[in-house]
């Protein structure tokens, strides 16, 4: 069961090796990278590629490790007991299963995506150590131990907002998704837009990589923003000639709102355009 990338997701060599190592050794893999480089998509594509079900657990800042295992709904039970409902007698009725429980109980080997683990409390990864290692946990209320029928493939993504504890990192494989080079980017674009014209790609790439290189820009546009921008260009039928405009009055590329998301970045860009316009006026 090897991961080779899919028809809709271009995976680099090193990513394939890391994912396959994680699948073979049945250990989680931690994926980091600039935002918009396809970390979350990776999990979906791995599931598609090996034909497994995907269970996603989106972490918020209020998420606790216990919520991934199960929650004991005491409030409902208290209310039911006051109403005299028969369900009250068996505590199992009030145990709400969490994502990890679902993943462990799955008949076929699933893919479990723990998305943006760095959003949670700093202790969160530490609370999951035993569960990730042995793939089992103990339910205090009912006294049973839930063991994984088939060890799920666990893919963890992080945006690098917090440091992850060492003990947690030891147990995973790691991959950093670099920002794609021009060739890889071309493949990605071709996969998403099979009918796009080559000249449009060339001109768009020039503009895109130039923006990324502008010093002082606060948020560099990423892969997903490039794809959005291309989609807008194609919908509006803007072709390569418009992009190739060397006229300084039109230095800001059309539909730049898809690439520059920050007011300061837009101002910076407008100022640069203004400066180069002034320069060209002076030389005329």
């Amino acid at each position: 069961m090897k991961f080779e990338g899919t028809s809709t997701y271009i995976a680099t060599e090193d990513l394939k090796v890391a994912v396959n190592a994680s699948i073979t050794l049945e250990r989680p893999i931690l994926v980091k990278g600039e935002p918009g480089t396809g970390k979350t998509m990776l999990a979906h594509e791995v599931a598609k590629s090996i034909g497994a079900e995907i269970i996603t657990w989106h972490i918020k800042s209020t998420t606790k490790a216990q919520q991934g295992l199960y929650e004991y709904d005491a409030v409902t039970r208290l209310r039911d007991s006051q109403l005299g409902d028969e369900k009250v007698k068996d505590i199992k009725n009030y145990i709400r299963k969490g994502k990890l429980w679902n993943a462990f109980e799955n008949d076929k080997r699933p893919v479990l995506l723990i998305d943006e683990i760095d959003k949670a409390d700093i202790e969160f990864p530490n609370d999951l150590l035993l569960e990730l290692d042995k793939m089992e946990f103990f339910v205090y209320e009912t006294g049973e131990t839930i063991k994984a029928k088939n060890r799920p493939i666990i893919i963890i993504t992080s945006n690098n907002e917090k440091e992850l504890p060492d003990a947690f990192l030891r147990r995973c494989f790691f991959h950093y998704i670099k920002f794609p080079e021009v060739e890889t980017m071309e493949e990605i674009v071709n996969v998403h837009f099979p009918e796009i014209k080559q000249e449009l790609i060339k001109e768009a790439f020039k503009i895109f990589y130039n923006i990324r290189d502008v010093p002082g820009i606060k948020k560099k546009p990423s892969t997903s923003e490039l794809l959005d921008w291309l989609k807008l260009l194609m919908t509006d039928d803007i072709d390569a000639k418009v992009l190739r405009e060397k006229d300084p009055k039109k230095l800001i590329p059309p539909l730049y709102g898809a690439l520059l998301k920050n007011e300061q970045d837009v101002h910076l860009f407008e100022r640069l355009a203004f400066i180069s316009r002034r320069e060209s006026e002076n030389t005329e």
Partner: protein, 392 residues
């Protein structure tokens, strides 16, 4: 197996552990990768041993050093050449006599079989010689062989054009923790200070937990929680003018990163050392001053204080009244700094000059002492340490 490599990594201060090494061995054992391909081994070992992108560049360097001289494995990957291709090539390039000679060895099929067997036997690349596959020899296999039955293997490009090895490309050098700063890196270092912790005495009612606990226990159980100490408050002091002109860019980046990270931030400028006045606007520097006393009275002691400066001046400017190069200050810079440090417990000094030069600059050592060693270099590691210190 790769014990030396492992110890090289440890010596380069990479946080690798035995567990990760065993994980790598297990992965090799389970044949995750094709063990003849060095690139794949590089990817696998990187995935198993390095857990933070800060260390990727160091890993690349150590890998390149430990495995120097290893061929990239792209040359001569013979087993992947399909038979058909060889056959067609042969028909194109071999003369009639050579074809007859092939027949003498039992035909193409026998030749391919023998080649396969030889490959299995061959342990390493070989030069000259008779039996093994290599270059410049007389065996029936190998490139540049004189044997008419020889088969050209793998020499599609010229000999001198070797592919650059992946780890030598050093793609991660700008993610390294010790490298100069850019705004993004500074933000990541400053984010340490971002923790909104609930600390202290429990004075607020925790409604959610009260409800949960009440339901759990069946009787009223009130839970309290400590007040949320949010909004980190920071006072930034920048040294401007003179020798700091060389570090303007980095201070700008630090400033812009700090402004977005800290909710409450006040900044002031001084020159060389802190005296009785500071200013906020560099243009009106000589007209509009703010008394340092006013500052000490306005901002409470839970503010965190960061000084940014190269601490490069004549030692007299710190220790003597009148030492300031711009005017006569009644009290020495040292007095002022001590006063500040007595009020604000969490204070650090960030120095854009690399750490190794500090003990050669007397003034820097004096300031370092005043700050009880809380002077940190203006690198990502340095800011990281500084933020850890401020969090105490």
């Amino acid at each position: 197996m790769f014990i030396n490599f492992f110890f090289d990594l440890k010596q380069a201060n990479l946080p690798v552990s035995l567990k990760e090494y065993l994980m790598l061995m297990e992965a090799m054992d389970k044949r995750v990768i094709d063990s003849f391909n060095v690139n794949d081994f590089y990817y696998l070992s990187r995935s198993a041993l390095v857990k933070d992108e800060r260390h990727l560049d160091k890993f690349d360097r150590v890998f390149g050093h430990s495995f120097k001289g290893l061929e990239s494995g792209e040359e001569g990957s013979v087993t992947e050449i399909p038979e058909e291709w060889l056959r067609l090539m042969g028909q194109k390039y071999l003369t009639d006599e050579e074809k007859k000679l092939i027949e003498s060895l039992g035909g193409w099929d026998k030749l391919m079989e023998t080649l396969k067997k030889r490959l299995e036997e061959q342990k390493e690349r070989h030069q000259g010689g008779n039996k093994w596959i290599g270059t410049g020899g007389t065996s029936p296999f190998g490139a540049y062989g004189y044997n008419p039955e020889g088969i050209r293997i793998g020499q599609k490009e010229s000999r001198n054009k070797k592919a650059v090895k992946v780890w030598d490309k050093r793609e991660f050098s700008n993610l390294d923790g010790d490298v100069e700063l850019g705004t993004r890196n500074i933000k990541i270092a400053l984010r340490r200070l971002r923790r909104f912790a609930r600390e202290g005495a429990e004075t607020e009612l925790d409604l959610d937990n009260t409800i949960k606990s009440t339901a759990h226990k069946g009787y009223i159980d009130v839970k309290m929680m400590p007040e949320r100490k949010n909004k980190i408050k920071v006072l930034l002091f920048f040294d401007v003018g003179g020798s700091m002109d060389a570090h303007v860019k980095i201070c700008e980046e630090l400033f812009s990163a700090a402004r977005t990270e800290f909710k409450h931030m006040e900044y002031f400028y001084f020159h060389n050392c802190l005296y009785d006045t500071v200013w906020k606007d560099n243009v009106r520097r000589y007209n509009e001053h703010i008394q340092t006393w006013d500052l000490l009275h306005t901002y409470p002691s839970d503010y965190k204080v960061i000084f940014v400066g190269d601490a490069e001046m004549s030692p007299y400017e710190i220790t003597y009244p009148g030492g300031s190069v711009e005017y006569w200050n009644e009290e020495s810079g040292e007095t002022w700094l001590t006063r500040m440090l007595n009020i604000y417990e969490n204070a650090i000094w960030l120095n854009p000059i690399p750490e190794r030069y500090w003990d050669r600059i007397t003034s820097a050592s004096i300031i370092q002492q005043l700050f009880s060693d809380r002077m940190f270099p203006l690198t990502i590691e340095g800011i990281d340490q500084a933020m850890k210190e401020l969090n105490k």
